[in-house]
Every structure is written in C-alpha cells, then in structure tokens.
Subunit: 475 residues, 2 copies
C-alpha cells in the first residue's frame, strides 16, 4: 500500500444528501428485509437446519441482485453454500472483498428467550432475535449500503466483491477449500470482514485482533450399561467422576491452563500493547455487575481486557452424563461427556493445541475408564497493524458518521476466516463491525441496536468513498 494516513484524522467526504434522503425514505422496507432474514433459522451447526441455511443464502443472494450487484452466485462448497456477488465498474479504483456470514448459533435454551428467537421484534430500539448482531445485521447493512449507492449514483465508488458465508458458526469447515478454488475471482486489494462489534458502552471500534479456536469433545465410557450405584458402587470407576478429574486437571482454579506447551507460541504483550489496553475506557466493577457474576476471574497478572483479548483460554461449553431429571436415580452412568474449547491468540496453531490437549488428556485420564477425544473444529487467531491505510479509512468513516474517533480493540471471539483470507488470498484484512459489545451473541435474547444498524449503513457507504481515494501498489 502506498497511501499513508494519519491515524484518527477525519477527512471524510461531505455528507451525501441524496443518499441520506434515499436511506431515510426506505427505512421501513429495509427493516422488513432484515427481519425476513432473521426469521430463517439458519443454524449451521445442526444438520437438520441445512435447508434453512440454503434458504438464507438464496434470500441474501436475491437481495444482492435486487441491490444491483452482478454475477450473483449461490456457490456450492460441499457444506452450506457461499453467496458471491460483484460490481466491477470502477476502473482505476481499489477492489475490496467484503465478508459476512448468514448462519447463526443454535438458539437453545429456548425457555430463556423473552420472545421466540426466530420471530424478530424491535423493542426499546433493539432488534431481538438469534443472529440479530452475529451477524445477519452485517449481511443486511452491506446489501443496503450497496443498494443506496447504486440507486442514487448508478455506481459504487469502488469495485466490490461480496461473500456471505454459511458455516462461520460451525468452524467454516468448507471455506478454506472454497477460497482456494475461487482465488482468482476473489482477487482484491484488501478485504473487509464485518463480524465484529463496538466497544463496551457502544463506542465505535476497529478490531485489530481476534482469537482463534480449538474445539474438542471428551468422551469417557466405562460399563456397557448404567449400573446400580448401590450394587456396583466401589467396584468400578465412575465415568462422570473420571471426567471431572480430567477436566479439573486441564485448568487450575487460578485460570491457568495446565496442559504442557499450551502457552509456548503465545506472542507476549509488549509494554506498548499493555498501554493500549490500559488506555481503553473500562470499569471492572460495572462489567462484573452487568454479567451478574460474583467476581471476575482469570490468569493472574493480566487485566480483564488483556485476558479476553490477548490470552488463550480453556472452557467447558457443555457437560453431560447420567441422570439429569427431577428427583433421584442411583446409577453409575455408563458414559459422560464434555465439549471443551480453547480460545487461541497469535501465534497459537489450532491443530497443535488440539494435539497438546488430547495428549495431556490421555496422560491424566484414569486407566479404569475408556477415553476418546474428538476434534470438532479449529480456527487460527489474527492480529493486524493499527496503521493499515484501509483500517484508517474505516476509522475516518466511523468518526464522520458516529461523531467520535474509533477505539482499536482486540476481540475475544473468533473469526477464523480472517486468517484464511490473509493466508489463502494474501489480502490484508480490515475488521469493521457494528454489533453491541453486550449483544448476547450465542446466548438467549441476542440483540442489535437499530441505531447502529442505520448509522452503520451510512458508515459503510462513506467507507467506500474513503477507500476510493486510496491507491494500492498492485491492483
């Protein structure tokens, strides 16, 4: 990149009044389209929802086509399809690849939702639905920004290529192969991934770091059937007790992962990194109270933001075995299971972490039970420079629309496609997302600020105007 920009400087274009008026006039129709997308239960991790994923892809493709995009393609991957579309009529201007995903997490436990997860409603300025913030808002916002620009100017300020993925919430199993196979039509000067959010307090932010993921399932089995705990208790090992011993061995009560080698590849925090974290507006007590926990918890020697942004974790995501019903049942369960995932940071490798954890489990597991470990998914972590010109263009667009310079943050979540685009397509990645920090992604009552949705569409349009001024060394 040859363009150099002063970080945080505002140099956005004048407000486009025609565009603004178009957006004002079409708010109602835009809301209905967003809701229609949210109504499709496109849960990629649950095989029974595969038809819904395809339906969401077809819906997103139709909307892109209507907005004026070309070469719209619901492209097969071997799993859930990727939606591709482009508009390439800005010769001499930069080409940008846009990424978002149309799939969502499972919605259980259903009884904790205020309203059904796939019946979106707007309440107190919030859109309440599974996928509202993670990440159907971004699918909708990008489509609407494109629509408004083409409708009012008959052109986009840059060349755009858009991909909406359908497997982000289930480890993007087929994406890498698809990116590899579509390398040529995906060529661009840089990529924009919209699957992140604002900082706590709804402060505009550009995300510079993302954590990776290594997700496994631990299975402990013993007898062929559940056994009477009175008759057999004391004679045989108990898979649920053994499971607890194994899980307890993986991470200490201090939050430090005990798996040998686990931290070996972690990039240590520099004094400058630590200062950047310390400069972010933050209050541990408010954060703790907002979550309803008695105390925050994690690796000693690191702040909360350092722990969630720059340190790896190991968490049980689910655990089960034996009798869960009301009342009592006196059995030694035949088997017990845990879903366990590690959030990874640069430069940890998911495959290596899976091996380390699986090997350690094999070492600490009692020999009186049978233990297997399934590799359920993985994704690489990511970290990008703050002074990237495209990131700075995004910052200017955010400041011009939201009225304040964005923060530069590291998010604890994983967007494995970020590392994939970097390594497979060789494109620098800017992460620009508008979800609220407390949007309950993956949890009941997921929500999105409708104000961010609206202002975000305007930010995206300004971003393309800003990008149109950049010059890249090689197209």
């Amino acid at each position: 990149m040859s363009q150099s920009v002063t970080p945080g400087s505002v140099g956005g274009p004048a407000r486009d009044e025609v565009l603004e008026r178009y957006l004002d006039e079409n708010a109602e129709r835009r809301l209905e389209s967003y809701k229609a997308l949210l109504r499709i239960p496109s849960i990629s991790g649950i095989p029974a929802h595969a038809p819904d994923c395809r339906r969401a892809a077809e819906f997103a493709a139709a909307e892109l086509r209507a907005a004026g995009m070309e070469h719209v393609d619901v492209s097969e991957t071997g799993g859930h399809p990727v939606v591709y579309a482009d508009w390439l009529h800005a010769p001499g201007r930069p080409t940008v690849l846009v990424y978002a995903h149309y799939d969502v997490q499972p919605a259980d436990p259903f009884d904790l939702w205020e309203s059904p997860p796939f019946e979106p409603i707007v309440k107190d300025g919030k859109m309440l639905a599974r996928g509202a913030s993670d990440c159907k808002c971004h699918v909708s916002m990008h489509t609407r920004a494109i629509e408004a620009l083409i409708a009012t100017r008959k052109a986009l300020p840059v060349n755009l290529k858009v991909i909406f993925e359908g497997e982000e919430e289930s480890a993007s199993l087929h994406l890498d192969a698809w990116l590899e196979a579509n390398k040529e039509r995906l060529e661009a000067d840089f990529a924009v991934i919209s699957d992140t959010g604002f900082f706590e307090g709804n402060l505009p932010a550009v995300t510079i770091g993302l954590r990776g993921l290594a997700y496994l399932q631990l299975n402990v089995t013993s007898s062929t059937v559940d056994l009477h705990s009175g008759v057999y208790g004391g004679a045989v090992d108990n898979p649920a007790n053994a499971l607890c011993q194994i899980v307890a061995a993986l991470k200490g009560p201090d939050g430090v992962v005990r798996v040998p080698g686990f931290y070996d590849d972690v990039v240590p925090l520099s004094p400058a990194d630590r200062k950047a974290f310390a400069d972010l507006p933050w209050n541990d007590d408010e954060y703790r109270d907002s979550l309803g926990v008695t105390a925050l918890h994690g690796e000693p020697g690191f702040t909360t933001l350092e722990r969630t942004g720059a340190r790896p974790t190991l968490d049980v995501n689910g655990i089960w075995g034996g009798f869960e019903g009301e009342g009592t049942k006196t059995i030694i369960p035949a088997h017990a299971h845990a879903k366990i995932s590690c959030r990874l940071v640069a430069n940890q490798d998911p495959a290596r972490i899976f091996s380390l954890v699986a090997d350690y489990i094999a070492r600490v597991a009692p020999k009186t039970v049978r233990v297997t470990v399934d590799d359920l998914s993985g994704g690489r972590p990511s970290l990008i420079p703050i002074d990237n010109p495209a990131a700075q263009a995004a910052a200017r667009a955010l400041e011009a629309t939201f009225g304040r310079a964005p923060l530069y943050i590291r998010e604890g979540g994983s967007v494995p496609v970020c590392a994939s685009i970097e390594s497979i397509l060789g494109q620098p990645v800017v992460m620009l997302g508008f979800a609220p920090a407390d949007g309950r992604f993956h949890a009941p009552n997921e929500w999105m600020w409708m104000s961010n949705f609206e202002t975000g569409i305007r930010t995206i349009a300004r971003f393309w105007d800003e990008v149109s001024k950049l010059t890249f060394g090689q197209p």
Copy 2:
C-alpha cells in the same frame, strides 16, 4: 427370641403336595397378574407419575384382598400411599411383618431397552421390565404365597401383616412418620424385608448387611445467562469447570473419598468379617467382563466384595450444564449441576455425611462462582447377626426349595426401611429376596428369573411353616 437353631441345618416341613398342585395349576394367572403390575409405570421419583403409583397401590391392595388378606388399606402417607393388609387368625403363633415396595426407578434412557420398560415380556426364562426384580416380583410373590396357602389350607401358618411401600426408590420420604403413626397395628415378632437378591451365579442368599445412602445435588451458577466463550472467556469463571474441580476434590483417582471425617464412623472389618467375604465364591475377572469395564476400581486394600458390601462410596449419578447437542456451541454455561450420592455402611449417619460433604464443598468451591447443595435423600445402613432364628428359618426354607444352603451376604444397595423398622418398630429384620444379582436394577433391561419367581413363592410358603415352629419370648 428363645428358639435356637443350628445355622444351615435343614428341618423343613414335608413337601405340601396340595399347595404344590395349586401353584402348578395357577401359573398362567399368576404370570398375568405379575405382568399387570409391571405395566403400571409407578416411578415414585418423578412427580408426574404420582397417579401411576396410586394405581399400583390399588392394584396390589386388590390382589391381597382377593388372596384372602383382611383389613386391606391403601393408607395415606402425604406422599405415595402404603398398602397395608393383615391375617391374624393363628393364635399362639408368631406374628410377622412383611415389607416390599411397589414403586420403581425411572426407566430412561429408553433407547437402550430391548423392549419398552413398561411392556413386560418373558424371554429366555427372564421377565424383562422396569421393576421386574426391584421389586415388584416380591410384591407379587408374597401375595401369591398367601393366596396359595389360604386357598389350600383355609389358613396361614402364622399371623401376617403386609406393607407394600410406594416411595422406596425416592428415599422413603414419608415412611418413617407413617411407621410411627401406625406402630400399634404393625406390632410383630420380627419383620421380613423382601427387596434383596441372590448372590452372583444365582446362588440362594440371606442378606445380613445393607448400605445406607446420602444423596445430594450440587449446583454451580455464575452469570445470569450463558456467555459467548470468545467474548467473555478469560474474564469470568466457568461453572462447569468449577463443578469439575469440586467433584474432583471429593474423591481421589484412587477411589478414596477426600471429605474429612467421611470414614470416621465406619465399622472396621474384623478378621472374621474378612474371612466371610473371602469364602464367598467369586471371580474378579468374570465380574469385570460381565460389566464390560476395562478394570475394576476402588479403595486400595479391600477386595471387590468388601468394597461393595462393607465400604462407603461417593459417585456422580448425573452431571449436566451448557450445550449437549450435536455440533458445537461456544458458550460459557450460566450454570452446571451434579447429582452425587454416597453409599454408607454401619455406623455412618446420612445426616452427618451430608453435612460433612456439604461443608467440604463450601470449603473447596472457587469463590468466583455461587454454589448450593440440596439434600435430596438419605437412608441409614444396616447390619444383622447371622444366627438370628428367623434368619435361620429363612435359610432352611431356601435350602429345602432351592436345594442348597444359602450364602450370607452384604448387599451394596440401600433399603433404608430396614433401619427404620429396626429403630421405630423395634423389630429384628430378616432380608429375604430372590432377585438375580445381575438383574440390572435401576438400569435399562431390568429382568427377573421366572424360575426364581416360582421357586421363591414356594420358599416363602415354607418359610411361614418354619416360622410357625418358632417361639418368641414376647408376642
């Protein structure tokens, strides 16, 4: 008791040919009645099955009435009813209180049953159904022995009082108060509890020891909702990880319970006790293979039979929290739970053990989560002398019908009513049961030998003849 009998000697009455013929002629009807009782899903631990428990009680009461018993009463307890009946026309003869229970354990997981748990079928000489061996067989067998005796002799050889309980599988919550309130009408020279079984290899046995129970539920909670494990992982403690740490702290991988004071009241095994255990026919390898486990496991320094008969345990009966579905979900669960029970031996007290475990949990639980412990149920352990005259009468009846002297065993399971009858009614207790040692009580595919069912009825009838010869000091 004034009667003295040489242990193991055979002095049974001559075979009652009239009785035998009656039993032979009524086998089909008897089988249908047993099946009808098994069809009623009288699961006492699941509130929704309360009407089924009452239905089972009414059924058992009607059968006792038809058999010739008097004062038949489905007696309210505040929970599931107790069935009471008596026949008191043998002046000068002993009075015996008979106990069995008509309630059963839950039947899940249903998919592991060869045939539906409440649709009894006989296959390869086995009755397959929930409750077949624990303990509806005994309800049916006692009723049929009474019927046959009264039908052929117009009288019973002893005075009999029968109680069939409906809450044995859910901690007999209301039984003690009911026994207290019915003390007078339950007066007897001794009690017979039929809720035990034969030794491995279907060897006739009289049970002299039973373990007690302390059952609790451990609840660990943290945030108000499930949290995204990427966004919040590293910031807060994980209730499922914390649960595992607590459970792992309760019992070591060596099978030794780590709760301070847990073993304080355990009656140590004498050299004679250890010899009695060592004399029982037993093969660890066969036992291990029959259970499908890789190895047996438990407290070092004790044999398998000592561990299941004379040592206490701590087992997880169920564990759950977070995402259990297919695929992946990246959450920190808001809460996690475990059902945990301890089998107790003489002279451990369930209330004291509950306190010790709960106190220890409070001590070892991380302060970064909220922990509660619910007391779900408890029952005292039991141990009785081998040379008890009534036990010896049972032994003679067993030998006369099954053709070999019974073994004297300690069962690992709990029949808390045993301690209740001893302490509240002041009656010595003989435990005479006919269930197969490997009858899969509390597990899928519970079954009962139909041969034991038939021979057991004849044993019970002979037992009453044997008891009729005993003289008790005070009626």
